[in-house]
């Protein structure tokens, strides 16, 4: 029995040999560029590799060290705060903007473009501009607060505020993406469904809550994974705007990874961080997929 089923499997494989041969170059590139580095990273996380001194195998030492590393825990906390802080508002704002701009009114293309524009700007350029916006003494952000009669804030200079300031900028940058993706999702909802809901007595809010949002759930899920993965890996804006400070309040896992690897030449330890990050992201994706599946069932 077993040999027969394996024989059929081989037969099917051989039928597709041509296809596999066509795939081989792509597979080769995937092995080289994705799998090999990933496996190497996990391997490195079990050593004290520095690329300078002789490398020794240290088992799970790096992971044990992570458990008691206060700074890493702070970075995990910061990253989680950043990820939640970026993901949720980005999706909510993106959805609201998409719903608002899905209706026909003058200049809606202009509005869509304006909302999407931040996505197209260079991260570094945007970061430099935001540093100016957040400037505590002459920056427009505080100018705005003062004009509202509110006290000015030391946005990037305060350990309590800096991460929030980075989150605001990230939301500004990302919600255009969310909007575009939601707009595409909205196109897939037939107009008749809205009409049916209106006839069933649903108001605008009820339609949003009971019809639009649930019908966009697969889009929402996709966006959520994209945003979470992206936010977990935030680096550029922090590198430019705060350098992880003040007081490590904006140090994220990837930032610390970079610092540990290239600043302190502890590549093994950094690899352990990166492995942990990898599994956290994997976990989020799996949990998200499970929730999604259950919703569809």
């Amino acid at each position: 029995m077993a040999s027969r089923s394996s024989a059929t499997a081989t037969g099917a494989f051989n039928q597709n040999l041509g296809a596999y041969l066509f795939l081989a170059p792509a597979l080769l590139i995937l092995f080289l560029s994705l799998l090999l580095p990933a496996v190497a990273t996990i391997g490195m996380s079990l050593t004290d590799v520095s690329f300078l001194r002789p490398t020794t195998f240290v088992g799970l030492d790096n992971y044990l060290r992570l458990l008691s590393d206060g700074r890493f825990q702070q970075a995990v906390g910061n990253t989680t705060y950043y990820t939640l802080g970026v993901t949720l508002p980005t999706m909510v704002l993106g959805l609201l903007a998409a719903v608002a701009l899905n209706r026909r009114f003058p200049f809606r293309i202009a509005f869509r473009t304006i909302f999407y524009l931040p996505v197209l700007t260079s991260l570094i350029a945007a970061a430099v501009v935001w540093v100016y916006l957040y400037e505590p003494y002459s920056g427009p952000m505080n100018g705005f607060l003062v004009s509202l009669g509110l006290p000015p804030q030391p946005w990037l200079q305060s350990p309590d505020l800096a991460m929030t300031a980075l989150i605001i900028m990230a939301v500004w940058r990302d919600f255009g993406t969310a909007m575009i993706i939601y707009l595409a999702g909205l196109q897939d909802i037939p107009e008749e469904i809205y009409e049916a809901a209106r006839l069933d007595g649903a108001g605008r809010l009820a339609i949003l809550r009971r019809i639009t949002v649930p019908m966009l759930s697969s889009v929402t899920f996709y966006l959520m994974i994209i945003l979470i993965v992206q936010s977990f890996q935030v680096f550029g804006a922090i590198y430019v705007m705060t350098g992880g400070g003040p007081l490590g309040s904006t140090e994220t896992i990837v930032f610390q990874m970079y610092q540990t690897a290239f600043g302190y030449t502890e590549f093994g330890y950094a690899a352990a961080m990166s492995t942990v990050l990898f599994f956290v992201i994997l976990l989020f994706s799996i949990v998200g997929t499970k929730i999604m599946r259950r919703g569809e069932a």
Binding site: P190, E192, I193, R198, L199, G203, R210
Partner: protein, 367 residues
């Protein structure tokens, strides 16, 4: 339960007049069918009644109340859409319950109402399924149940059967008729299919180009079409039209018409002003044609069958006469062969007369 009254309703989209000055009254409990070719404005009319689109001019009253400015959902109507418009992410139960949930009815009450409606449409066992798991007919029933629970004064149905296959369509037709009888509520039903209109309607509203062409009971429309459009639209196969020129009046309410290919034909007419020399049109229903030679009260002519469709109960003959197609429908299965000329006759009383504006001028036939 409510009656529907439209007064001088118009709808324009930019420069396009979708509906022009429609006035109409549909009685309480009536099954009214809006019928017409696509683009005639029948669906627009339904949407105006539903409140999905605002009227450009005129008033809509339901049950004696002016609802012209009321939003959709605040009118005592429920609608069944062509594509069902079920909420795909909700179970059958939630689909049916949705209108009640919007009314903030109690959980218990909703449960009862949904169960009742589900029983009416025979879906009690499928309440937990998502619409994607249902067949087309079952989805249609969910949509109907969702309409039923609202207990609307008027049911609006927008081509509800057009997505079903022929057999199912026939079945649903009778189910809808039964449902109407059972609920006793007013129904406004839109279709482009005159067969549906004829079989289901208490009253048919024929629309064309945004205008009401004729309103009446199915047999009334069949026997006394008000104009060329209605005459051609109602009945299948459609009425044959023959161009002619009015001659002199012969006897009491008879008109002589010179029709090329038919010679001089004397037909009954309603006595209104048709002057000699006017261009007129004669109408002959295919089923009015029988085999045989002329008698006193019928005319006769010959046709050469091109295509013969044998349906057992009927035989339909397509021919050409004077460059225009002519269709005849005979009972049973007469021995005919394509290309072999046959003699046929038509009773004078069954020849329709339309004046140069296409308005029917025949004598009225009691339906």
């Amino acid at each position: 339960m409510a009656e529907l009254e439209l007064s001088r309703v118009s709808k324009t989209y930019g420069a396009f007049n979708a509906l022009r000055d429609v006035s109409l009254k549909i009685g309480d409990g009536e099954f009214a069918v809006f019928v017409g070719p696509s683009g005639c404005g029948k669906s627009t009319l339904l949407r105006l009644v539903a409140g999905l689109d605002p009227v450009s001019e005129g008033q809509i009253a339901i049950g004696g109340n002016d609802v012209t400015t009321r939003q959709a959902g605040q009118r005592p109507v429920a609608m069944v859409f062509q594509n069902y418009a079920l909420y795909p992410h909700m179970s059958v139960y939630d689909n049916i319950a949705f209108p009640l949930q919007m009314e903030r009815r109690s959980r218990q009450e909703i449960k009862q109402e949904v169960a009742r409606a589900a029983q009416v449409v025979q879906l009690s066992t499928r309440l937990q399924d998502k619409p994607a798991k249902l067949s087309g007919g079952q989805r249609q029933r969910v949509a109907i149940a969702r309409a039923i629970v609202r207990k609307p004064g008027i049911f609006l149905m927008d081509e509800p059967l057009s997505n079903l296959d022929a057999a199912l369509r026939m079945e649903m037709r009778s189910e809808l008729t039964q449902l109407h009888r059972r609920l006793g509520s007013t129904m406004v039903y839109v279709t482009h299919d005159q067969l549906e209109a004829m079989t289901m309607a208490d009253r048919i509203v024929v629309l064309n180009g945004g205008k009401v062409e004729q309103v009446g009971a199915p047999m009334e429309l069949y026997h006394n079409p008000a104009n060329l459009f209605v005459a051609g639209f109602i009945g299948s196969p459609p009425m044959n039209f023959i161009a002619g020129v009015a001659g002199s009046i012969a006897g009491e309410a008879m008109l002589r018409v010179e029709a090329p290919g038919f010679g001089e034909v004397t037909v009954p007419y309603d006595g209104s002003a048709v002057r000699t020399g006017d261009k007129v049109t004669l109408g002959i229903r295919p089923e009015a044609v029988t085999l045989g030679d002329a008698t006193d009260d019928s005319i006769s002519f010959s046709i050469v069958p091109d295509i013969i469709e044998r349906l057992g109960l009927h035989t339909i003959v397509h021919s050409e006469s004077g460059g225009r197609p002519f269709t005849a429908l005979f009972n049973g299965d007469p021995r005919l062969r394509p290309g072999e000329q046959i003699h046929v006759r038509v009773p004078r009383t069954q020849i329709y007369l339309f004046d140069q504006d296409g308005v029917g001028r025949s004598r009225q036939i009691a339906a």
